[in-house]
Symmetry: C2
Subunit: 455 residues, 2 copies
C-alpha cells in the first residue's frame, strides 16, 4: 500500500477528472489522480486496427460550440476533421422500407401526418426547453409539473404529440440520447438537456451541429496527452473505495494507494459516486441523490470495410430506423476515408436484450440491419468491433446517467454543492453541453476552480 500526499486529489481519469487535474496543475498546485482502469478517458476509448487505424468506441464527436474541447485539441496538438456528411441519409420506416432523405431530420418515409405530429412534438419541446435554466432546471416556472412527468407520460398525454408514429419517432430519439426507456427519464431532464445542447436539429447535425468533427487519432488521443502532462501524478489501476475527511483534509483510499490531500474532486458518473464509502457519511440529500441517477445501456458495433462504398452510392452513412433494434448508424471513417467505417447502435431496452445474445447473433443483427440499408457489401466487413459499455466494471451502464422524475426538483441543488472538502464533477451536471465531453470538461474545470478558491 503506497501512501502519498498531494494538495489535491482527483478521483477518476475521464474528461472531467483530467480537466480538473490540468486546471489545478496549471494553477501551480500538486494533484494526484486515481483512475480505476488501466487507461485514461473514461467513457472515451479509442481502439486500433492492426494497421494502426483508430476506432473510437466511446465519445467520438466534437460539436459546433464545444469550445473547450476544440481549444484543448489545439493546445495539445491534436487535429480534427469534418465528419463525412455528403449524400443522402436513410430512414427505415415502420413498414421496413428504406427511404432516402437529405438533412438532419427525415422529411420522408413516415407519412406526412406522422411528420407533422413529430414536428409539433419537437417544436413544443423546444419551446418548453427554452424556459428551463440550463444550470438550474429546478428553477423553471413549470419545473415541478414537468419533473413529475416522464418523457413517455408527456409524449403520450393528450395531443402533445398527436399520432402514434410520431410518438414512436420522438421516443426513439429520446431513448437514444438517454439509452433508457423514455418512461424512466424525467421530462424536465430531457428539456434541460435539449436547452443545454441547442436543439433537436443541432443534436442530429454534422456540420454546424453536435456531430461536426472527429479527432485525428481518435478522441482518446486528447485524454492521453492530458495524462502525459500529468506524468507520475496519474495512478492507473487504482480503484478508489473510500473517502474520509476531517478538519485538516481528506484521505482517499484506493486498493493500492492512499492519498492524503486538502481537498478531493470526485469525477465519476453519479452511480459510481454512490458506491464509494464516505466517512463521515454524506449528508442525507447527497446520499439519496447518489441513489437516483441510473445509467442506461448501449451496444455499438463498428463495421470496417476496405472503402466507404456507400459514399459512391450517394449515401452519407447516416441511418435511422423505426422497425429495427439497430436504430442509428453513422459514417465514422478516419480522415483519409480508408478504411471505411460504419458505426451503428442498439440503445436502451434493446441493448440489454441484445447484450444477452451470443456473439454470432449480435453480429448478424447488426450486419443484417446494415445490409438492408446499404446493400450486400455491408454484410461483409473486413473487421467487426463491438463495445457493450454496460459490461464495463467502471461504467456499469451507458452512456450517461439520467434523472428519473422528481429527482432534479427534489435533489438538483445538491448536485454541485461541495460536501466539506469533497467537490463533484461529471458530465451529468446540469451545465451547458451536459451529457457530452464538453460538459464533462466544463464540470471538471468548475470543480477545480471551486476547490482552488477554497484552498
Amino acid at each position: 500500500m503506497e501512501h502519498l500526499e498531494s494538495e489535491f486529489c482527483v478521483v477518476g481519469g475521464g474528461y472531467a477528472g483530467l480537466s480538473a487535474a490540468r486546471s489545478l496543475t496549471k494553477a501551480g498546485r500538486t494533484v494526484a489522480v486515481l483512475e480505476a482502469r488501466d487507461r485514461v478517458g473514461g467513457r472515451v476509448w479509442t481502439e486500433h486496427l492492426d494497421d494502426g487505424t483508430e476506432v473510437d468506441l466511446g465519445g467520438t464527436w466534437i460539436g459546433a460550440g464545444h469550445d473547450r474541447l476544440y481549444a484543448l485539441a489545439k493546445e495539445l496538438g491534436v487535429g480534427t476533421y469534418p465528419t463525412y456528411d455528403e449524400g443522402a441519409s436513410v430512414i427505415v420506416g415502420e413498414d421496413g422500407k428504406v427511404h432516402r432523405f437529405e438533412g438532419a431530420i427525415p422529411f420522408t418515409g413516415v407519412g406526412l401526418f406522422s411528420l407533422a405530429g413529430m414536428g409539433l412534438g419537437f417544436t413544443e419541446m423546444e419551446k418548453m426547453a427554452k424556459q428551463v435554466p440550463i444550470e438550474a432546471p429546478w428553477e423553471a416556472e413549470h419545473a415541478k409539473e414537468w419533473d413529475a412527468h416522464s418523457v413517455a407520460s408527456w409524449v403520450n398525454a393528450g395531443l402533445n404529440v398527436p399520432n402514434a408514429t410520431a410518438r414512436r419517432m420522438v421516443q426513439l430519439l429520446w431513448g437514444g440520447f438517454f439509452t433508457s426507456d423514455t418512461s424512466e427519464v424525467s421530462l424536465l431532464h430531457a428539456l434541460c438537456f435539449l436547452h443545454a445542447n441547442v436543439s433537436i436539429e443541432f443534436l442530429e447535425s454534422t456540420k454546424g451541429g453536435d456531430l461536426q468533427d472527429q479527432v485525428q487519432g481518435g478522441m482518446q488521443t486528447i485524454a492521453i496527452r492530458m495524462a502525459a502532462e500529468l506524468d507520475d501524478a496519474l495512478h492507473l489501476e487504482s480503484p478508489v473505495r473510500a473517502i474520509g475527511q476531517d478538519a485538516q483534509g481528506v484521505t482517499v483510499r484506493a486498493d493500492n494507494i492512499t492519498v492524503r490531500a486538502r481537498r478531493v474532486i470526485v469525477a465519476l458518473p453519479p452511480t459510481l459516486t454512490g458506491q464509494l464509502r464516505y466517512d463521515p457519511m454524506l449528508p442525507v440529500d447527497r446520499m439519496l441523490l447518489n441513489q437516483r441517477v441510473p445509467n442506461g445501456a448501449i451496444m455499438r458495433a463498428i463495421a470496417v470495410y476496405e472503402e466507404p462504398f456507400w459514399r459512391a452510392d450517394g449515401l452519407s452513412g447516416r441511418t435511422i430506423a423505426l422497425n429495427s433494434p439497430v436504430s442509428y448508424s453513422i459514417d465514422q471513417s478516419p480522415e483519409s476515408g480508408r478504411p471505411g467505417m460504419l458505426s451503428s447502435y442498439i440503445a436502451g431496452p434493446a441493448a440489454r436484450r441484445f447484450g444477452r445474445l451470443d456473439a454470432a447473433e449480435r453480429r448478424r443483427t447488426f450486419l443484417d440491419a446494415l445490409e438492408a440499408r446499404f446493400g450486400p457489401k455491408a454484410a461483409k466487413p473486413v473487421h467487426y468491433i463491438e463495445a457493450d459499455w454496460s459490461k464495463e466494471e467502471w461504467n456499469q451502464g451507458a452512456m450517461i446517467g439520467h434523472y428519473p422524475p422528481g429527482v432534479l426538483t427534489e435533489f438538483g441543488p445538491t448536485l454541485r454543492a461541495p460536501v466539506g472538502r469533497i467537490h463533484w464533477a461529471s458530465s451529468e451536471m446540469p451545465t451547458r453541453w451536459h451529457g457530452h465531453i464538453e460538459g464533462a470538461i466544463l464540470a471538471g474545470e468548475r470543480a477545480a476552480e471551486e476547490a482552488y478558491q477554497a484552498g
Copy 2:
C-alpha cells in the same frame, strides 16, 4: 480475518435474512448470517427507557393477515396486544384548524367537495390496483401506461382527482407510504403496493387493518429470538463488501470474516445490494436494477408521557395534518398504557429539510405539532426520542425503496431471478404485504426455499 465454511450464507440480519436463515436451519442446513450492525432487526429496532419500557423506532405493527409474523411471534413465545384505537382521531385541515373524526379516513375537516374528490381518487386507484398482479405488476394490462406515470403526474392529470385539496390529501398519503415526493414514485408501484396491502382503508386501520397489533417487548424481540436460535451462526458487525462466485460455490467477504458457501441469499434493501462488489459482475439487467430503487427519508419522534392523557379527552392519538410537516401521529403506548407514548412522523422532502435543523428546533417542531392537536400537556413529555433513519449507515434512507417510473416494467422480472448462486430477498420484492415486515419474511422464506431446492 476469520474464514469459515457453511452450506449457505445470508447477508443481512433483518427480517428477510433472519427468516431465510431460520428456514434453512429448520431444513437441516448450516448457515452463516453476516450482519453489518451490532444488532439484528434491520429496519426494526426497539430501544428501551431506563425503566425497561420498550420503544419501537422502526417497524412496529402487525396487520390483520400478517400470518407469518403472527405465527413467528407465537412460535417464539412473544405476545401481541391491540393498538389503542378508542376515541376520535384528529385532522388538521389546510386552515390549520383541528377537527375530530371517527374511523380510519377523515370525513370532516376538509370540506365536502375535497372529500368527494379524495374519495373519487382513492376509488379509482383501488379499482386500478385490483388489475395489477401483486407478484408480477409488469404483467398488468395497462402496466406500460401506468408505469410511465409518477403518482404525481397521474393525480394531477385531468379529472383523476378533481380538486386541489383532494390532490394534496392523496399525495400526502402516498408520500407517507413511500417517504418520498410523489413525483418520484411510479403509479404502477403505488397500485401494486395497494393491491398487496388490501386497500387505503386497511392501511390506515387499527383493528382489522395494517396497524392492528403491537408486540410485547417491542418488535425487535422477535428478531432477537430468531437470532438466539441461530446462536454462533450469526456474525454481527460484519459488513459484507464483496461476493464472488464460481462453479463450486460463493465467497462472501465481510470486513472481518470470509464465508465460503454453496449459495448466498442477499437480504438487503436494493440500494445497499448495489453497493456490494460482485465477481463476476452481475448481469446487466440486475446491475442496472440495483441503481434504480432509491430510498426516501423519514423522521420519527416518540414523546413519552406519564400517562396517555389524550385517551381521557376522548382521543385515539391518531392525527393527520395537511398544513404541518408532522403529517401523522399514533398512540404507541405499551400494553399497560403506562407510560403513554405518541409516535409522530415527518416524511419525505420535509424529513430531509427537518433533518438539517438542530436538535432543539426539531424537538420544537414535533412538540408544537402535538400541542396543537392534543393541548398543552403534549408539550411536556418526560422523554423525547428521535430516529432519523436516513442517517443510519446501514439503511441510507428510509423506510422502503420505491420504484421510479419505468423501472418495474423494464427491470421487474429481474427482481427475484437468482444470479447463479446468488438469491435475493427484501421487503421491496413485489409480493403480498410488500413494504412490510410480513413481506420481508415472505421474501426471505421464498429465497430460502429457492436456494434449498437448488442445493
